[in-house]
């Protein structure tokens, strides 16, 4: 019998990531305009630690996914929608990898090494370079707004499936929503 829902692990990581990404995005928006203060330094560090955590989680998630393929999309779904759904998921994963990487590189270029929880130093992949740091900051911001837009599309599509198409797409990730047959 083919699986009709994601595994508990996949569901757990998905929602954990959702919380992390919303938190990271909001804090990232808030902190960049703060005047320099001890609080700002703390928030920046927390943001970086959470970002490293998200980066590790997405790798764990991809590894899990490789061994536990997601349930198939409903047969009734038009092909163009299946293609769009796969493309969107690929892009989401791509951004979840690219965004923390751009943040890490930006930190290196700006001369602020990332030290995970203040204990584990991540190697600086770039030399300190002011212009490059500013460029990477723009890249980091642009990628984040792209991800935010795609997440909105992702949520919109899930709701559309649940409320309009009345299929089990959302229930794969929220089993308590599964409809009785």
């Amino acid at each position: 019998m083919p699986a009709t829902r994601y595994t508990h692990t996949a569901i757990f990581i998905h929602w954990l990531m959702a919380l992390l990404l919303i938190g990271l995005f909001s804090v990232g928006l808030y902190m960049s305009d703060l005047p320099l203060s001890p609080q700002k330094l703390k928030i920046y560090s927390w943001h970086k630690w959470a970002g490293v955590t998200a980066f590790v989680l997405v790798l764990v998630r991809l590894a899990w996914r490789a061994g536990h393929p997601p349930p198939a999309l409903p047969a009734a779904m038009p092909n163009w929608q299946k293609t769009a759904a796969h493309a969107l998921h690929h892009l989401l994963y791509l951004l979840m990898i690219a965004i923390p990487l751009s943040g890490w590189l930006m930190s290196s270029a700006k001369g602020f090494q990332t030290v995970y929880f203040g204990i584990l130093p991540l190697p600086d992949l770039l030399q300190k370079n002011k212009e490059l740091g500013e460029l990477l900051e723009s890249v980091h911001t642009a990628l984040n707004f792209t991800l935010a837009a795609l997440v909105l599309a992702h949520i919109g599509a899930a709701l559309k499936h649940h409320l309009l198409d009345r299929d089990d797409i959302l229930a794969r990730m929220l089993p308590f929503l599964a409809r009785k047959r």
């Binding site: 320099l36 203060s37 602020f112 090494q113 030290v115 203040g118 130093p121 300190k128």
Partner: protein, 194 residues
């Protein structure tokens, strides 16, 4: 019968002392600003941040044959600080940090220099920042490079002992109290008198 030999020995010894004296007579006292550097590493949330002072002056006299007689004085222009980022540079000249309007320079004046064996020495002196003086001890090495004397040393100071970063910044869990100072001083030998 022994006399000529003793005399000969005495002459040899005198010659040896004279030779040693002339070889080591070089006193390094011409500060080379362009070749010297004064850098530091501060820690923010456990992250080491490199910084430097772009402008400082040193007057020193060091003769490796008489290290105990050495003296050194350093005056550093606190306005020339690079604390690692534009934000930080704007911040550290302000009142809670160096308050450069009132205290534009920091000074170090040596009191003793002690040889530790080999090329290692220990420098003790008074460091004055923001009107507060503290004794500091800095081990350093001395070597000669292309005729110049090169001094490399480092020590750790506690910024709060000088009132640097007070108020909200006195929370050392954000910006550590310990700041590592590294100096690389190059001095040419005194002009040789003929």
């Amino acid at each position: 019968m022994e006399k000529p030999l003793t005399t000969f020995r005495l002459i040899l010894a005198t010659l040896a002392v004279a030779a040693a004296g002339s070889a080591a007579a070089a006193e390094f006292n011409q500060f080379q600003a362009g070749k010297s550097s004064l850098t530091f590493v501060s820690k923010q949330m456990g992250v080491p941040i490199d910084g430097s002072f772009r402008k400082f002056a040193a007057s020193l006299a060091f003769d490796p044959a008489k290290p105990a007689a050495a003296t050194a004085r350093l005056d550093l222009d606190l306005n020339s600080i690079d604390a690692g980022s534009r934000d930080a540079n704007d911040e550290v000249v302000g009142k809670p940090w160096f308050n450069v309007k009132v205290f534009p320079t920091a000074t170090f004046v040596s009191s003793t220099v002690r040889p530790l064996g080999g090329d290692k020495y220990e420098l003790v002196g008074k460091l004055t920042i923001k009107g507060k003086s503290q004794d500091v001890t800095a081990p350093f090495t001395f070597r000669q490079d292309g005729g110049n004397g090169v001094f490399d040393g480092a020590f750790v100071l506690k910024r709060l002992e000088f009132g640097v970063g007070d108020g909200v910044w006195s929370d050392v869990s954000t910006v550590a109290n310990e700041v590592q100072i590294k100096f690389h001083i190059v001095a040419a030998p005194a002009a040789i008198r003929k």
